[in-house]
Amino acid sequence: MSLVNLKLLTEMFNKIDIGMMLINEDDKICLWNSFLTRHSLKLQTDVSGQNLFDVFPSLPKLWLSMKFKGVRQLQNTSKVSWEQRPLLFEFDNGGTMMQNCSFIPVIDPETKENYICITIQDVSSHAKDKLELKEILLINKSLEEISNTDPLTGIFNRRYICEALEEQVLKASERNLKLAVLMFDLDYFKLVNDNYGHIVGDRVLKYVADTVCGSMMKNSSFGRYGGEEFILFFSGYSIRDVQDWAEKIRIKISEGAVDSREGDIHITASFGIAQYTPEIKDDLEIIHNADVAMYRSKEKGRNRVTLY
Amino acid sequence: MSFTILIVDDSEFARKVLKKSLHSFFTGKDYALSEAGNGEEALGKIKESVPHFMFLDLTMPVMDGYELLEELKTLDLNIPTVVISADIQEEAEKKVKELGVLGFLNKPLNQDRIADLLKEVNII
């Protein structure tokens, strides 16, 4: 610290384009920089020793007290973004300043007293851009919601396939029909993404979806459940038929390859099958059972089919 | 007749720790310990034979400490009691003191504090 004196430090503290203050354990203000003076029209001498919640009466006291408690107790920095709360601190001279705030635990190295440093960053212009972008994204998202297919693979998306399955479970229970659910997950897919990149990863997903699509049986549906997990359901088939089919597909997937600049990529998958029984209440339960069977396949060494 | 002490706590571990401490305070003296895992069990033991002294936990399944104290009050049984609880809120202490307990100790148990309290109420 020999090169920097207190005056210089204070100068920097006041020139910085971020609001900064320090409060003690009783929430009393100890330090207050010029940014805050400019926006609140209150001087350091006006607020020094005052309680933070008296200086900013509109602050949500209970919520913030809880936050402070967390900061002091766990000595973790806590952040509040403008998306969460656009206007935490209301300034007389601030207009509508969108803020990112941080609450940083600070301990006096000499006295060991506990303080919190509060920083307030004006992010109004950035927030405005982001809000516009958000609107565009929202429109895109609502478009996705009316769509029934997964854009990458072209097969059904999760929402649609789950809705369809829900209906099938209902039908199966009313008319005593056969129904089976199959889930499968690509083995070590994360490594593909890590080693070859996401573009190749996407091609692997597409390859798997295409392979399955080429061998579909009648009265079955196929969808992407999420990530590298896929789901199918079969109406009117015996569990044996579904098992045989799964075995065939498992081999087919493992025998094919996706070419890349680094050479052929081989992939395997772990399968789990669950059969509908009258005790099963809904799609959630039968998916869960298929999932359990699938994870048992993973546990047993992957690239296999397990019946729940 | 020996001095009878009833320990009421749902945790075996807590009872064990307390028994160990009591043993060291009462060595050479004529005393008898009995235990109960909740308020209801304690009530059964008390109805069989009223102990001279009781250590009581507050949060327990089936019947908790508060309920036992209320029940003893309606039965007009006045057993000198020390509450040992993980609940360190002042209000908990206030509540049980209103129900007539002699002392309140916080968990985890501190042997010195048990000794101090027992001296205070003239047990040792």
Partner: protein, 215 residues
């Protein structure tokens, strides 16, 4: 399917340790609310996360088809502990906190309530755990920020979806359920803790050590 089993004494000790740390947490929270806080005896269990959905449905305060809010928070302590806490509450409970925040019925849609719930959950989970873990580990536990992971679904949907995080990450889990009540306002919620198989065996070793020392 359990690969780890706790003895009766180990369960008992862990329950007691959790009770003690919950007592501290209750006191800390009571100070904040100016109300008496009641934390009910935790139920502790170890089971395969395969049956987690049924367990959550069975042990929750809320009905299977009731719409609930779920807040989850992950934590870890170096390599010795990994897990998460989850708080479940219903919309009626959400409404009961309005007076605590000095809000009225008109503010029911307010973001402030969600913010508050996040903070409260974070406090509950971290204060309970840090009090407990202080007994076990020398290094501080890291808590990620809590997030609302569901607010449109019913308990059944939530329970089955929780499986997806459960099984993939945890295998066998220790789960502990705690009911948390703020007197006067009758705030009620479920608090579940999950820790993974590996953490379980670390925990067991520590419990065994304490038991040995106390005998």
């Amino acid at each position: 399917m359990n690969s780890i089993e706790f003895s009766h004494e180990e369960y008992d000790l862990l329950t007691e340790l959790i009770n003690v740390s919950m007592g501290k947490s209750a006191a800390e929270l009571a100070k904040l609310f100016n109300h008496f806080v009641k934390l009910k005896v935790p139920a502790l269990n170890i089971e395969s996360s395969e049956v987690l959905p049924e367990t959550i449905i069975k042990s929750s305060l809320f009905g299977e088809l009731e719409k609930v809010i779920v807040i989850q928070q992950k934590f870890h302590n170096d390599y010795s502990l990994k897990g998460e806490g989850a708080i479940i509450l219903n919309y009626k409970t959400r409404q009961t906190i309005l007076p605590l925040l000095e809000l009225t019925e008109d503010d029911i849609g307010s973001e402030e309530i969600n913010d508050f719930l996040l903070e409260l959950s974070g406090q509950l989970i971290s204060s309970c755990l840090s009090n407990l873990l202080m007994e076990f580990f020398k290094s501080p536990t890291t808590f990620e920020s809590p997030a609302i992971t569901s607010k449109e679904e019913n308990l059944r949907q939530v329970a089955y979806k929780s499986f997806e995080f459960g099984y993939q990450q945890y295998g066998d889990i220790l789960y502990s359920k705690i009911d948390f009540i703020i007197d006067v306002v009758n705030f009620q919620c479920d608090l579940f803790f999950f820790i993974d198989t590996e953490s379980l065996s670390h925990l067991q070793k520590i419990l065994q050590k304490i038991l040995e020392e106390s005998s």
